[in-house]
């Protein structure tokens, strides 16, 4: 899950509107919306910290860094191509490629 989804999930669970979270973090409403929906590539670290505080979570949780795992070296090629994909997706695609990699029974 990307940080945008986490912010939205947490905000709606706390029944906060975009406006309320914007006010609590001294941000604009459109910036909060952008963070939630567009996952901009370089979000402001300062704002994210303020949001984490307002949502009563850690910055690590917001960024999902506690979930990240590294791939085994033998899967290097896959890892390069899929590095922006969640681990589960990479696993599923590898598994199917393996099944299809077996020689055809003739």
């Amino acid at each position: 899950m990307k940080f945008g989804e986490r912010i939205k999930q947490r905000r709606t669970a706390m029944k906060l509107t975009l406006d309320q979270l914007a006010q609590a973090t001294d941000s604009s409403k459109s910036y909060i919306w952008e963070l939630e929906n567009k996952n901009p590539p370089r979000p402001s670290a300062e704002k994210l910290a303020a949001i984490a505080k307002a949502l009563d979570v850690t910055l690590d949780w917001l960024l999902g860094s506690d979930e990240q795992t590294l791939e085994a070296a033998e899967d290097k090629a896959f890892f390069r191509a899929y590095s922006h994909m969640p681990e589960e997706t990479r696993r599923q695609l590898r598994e199917m490629a393996k099944i299809l990699g077996a020689k055809k029974d003739t």
Binding site: L18, S30, W33, N37, A81, M85, E88, L100, G101
Partner: protein
């Protein structure tokens, strides 16, 4: 070709079964390198993929993410089938395809991919919603509403979004779709005549807040707003529009269709050369 096999009235009977078509067509035309599986998997961040094994001749498989509606699933499978038909020969030359084709929702649902993604989208749209049949259902000069478009979505077995995007590609009327959530536009797409008259909304690198009077903002979701209300000049644009709006709880977003009143000045009587606005907005829509 498919009209010849199944009859020109085939869509009157049923939409296409994409999974069977992909399996059977590939087996008939390329028995050595056929698509052997079309399967649902849990693929977060990815709506569909075309994968293959290392052994040659290659064996192919199409995977699609869980939880897609039947309409979205049909488009996803058609898109991956498009990669198979159009691009499978490239995997030996193009190193970036060494792990197969995998496609996110921006490329498949918003039809906003570039290069091979765009080609696969066009392939899928042509296959599922042939223009000659669709024009027979809603003529190019006619203004469409959500009920008509919804009926077409059923006819072709695709999502409402896919049908609206397709309609916007051929309509001669000036119209625009805006998909929004909590008062901001996630993405928007104008018809070509609308774009050429300067009517478009940028959503790629900017955040567009819907006007306070828009039904999606006032949350006025009724049969009346779905079939269309008049919005005065200055609310959306400097000219009046007919606004049609409804909300999808399933996808947690609102769909707004704008129809611009004046049509005559922008009729498509000749093929226009894209100017810099077209090029810019085309990259952005």
């Amino acid at each position: 070709m498919l009209d010849a096999v199944w009859g020109a009235d085939r869509f009157d009977r049923k939409p296409m079964d994409m999974a069977s078509l992909a399996l059977e067509y590939s087996l008939q035309t390329a028995p050595d390198e056929a698509i052997e599986v079309v399967e649902e998997r849990h693929l977060p961040g990815c709506v569909g993929a075309l994968v293959y094994g290392d052994a040659k001749p290659r064996r192919w498989g199409i995977l699609y993410d869980k939880g897609q509606s039947p309409g979205r699933r049909a488009f996803t499978i058609a898109h991956e089938f498009g990669h198979y038909i159009l691009h499978r020969h490239r995997v030996d030359e193009d190193h970036s395809l060494a792990d197969g084709f995998y496609c996110d929702d921006e490329a498949v649902i918003q039809r906003d991919g570039i290069g091979i993604e765009e080609e696969a989208d066009t392939f899928a749209a042509d296959l599922l919603m042939p223009l000659h049949d669709m024009r027979g259902q809603i003529a190019g000069g006619r203004r469409a509403d959500f009920d008509q478009l919804g009926k077409l979505a059923e006819r072709y077995g695709v999502s409402l979004e896919a049908v609206i995007i397709r309609w916007l590609e051929y309509t001669e009327t000036r119209a625009m779709l805006i998909v929004s959530n909590e008062g901001f536009a996630k993405w928007a797409k104008p018809s070509r005549p609308a774009l050429r008259s300067g009517r478009y909304i940028r959503t790629k690198n900017e955040v567009f807040e819907l006007p306070a009077m828009a039904c999606a903002v006032t949350r006025d979701f009724t049969a009346v707003t779905k079939s269309g209300i008049d919005q005065a000049a200055g609310i959306w644009f400097s000219e009046p529009v007919i606004e049609m709006c409804f909300r999808s709880d399933r996808y947690d977003q609102e769909y707004t269709l704008l129809h611009f009143e004046r049509q005559r000045d922008w009729s498509l009587d000749e093929e226009p050369q894209p100017d810099c606005v077209d090029r810019f907005a085309g990259n952005n829509s």
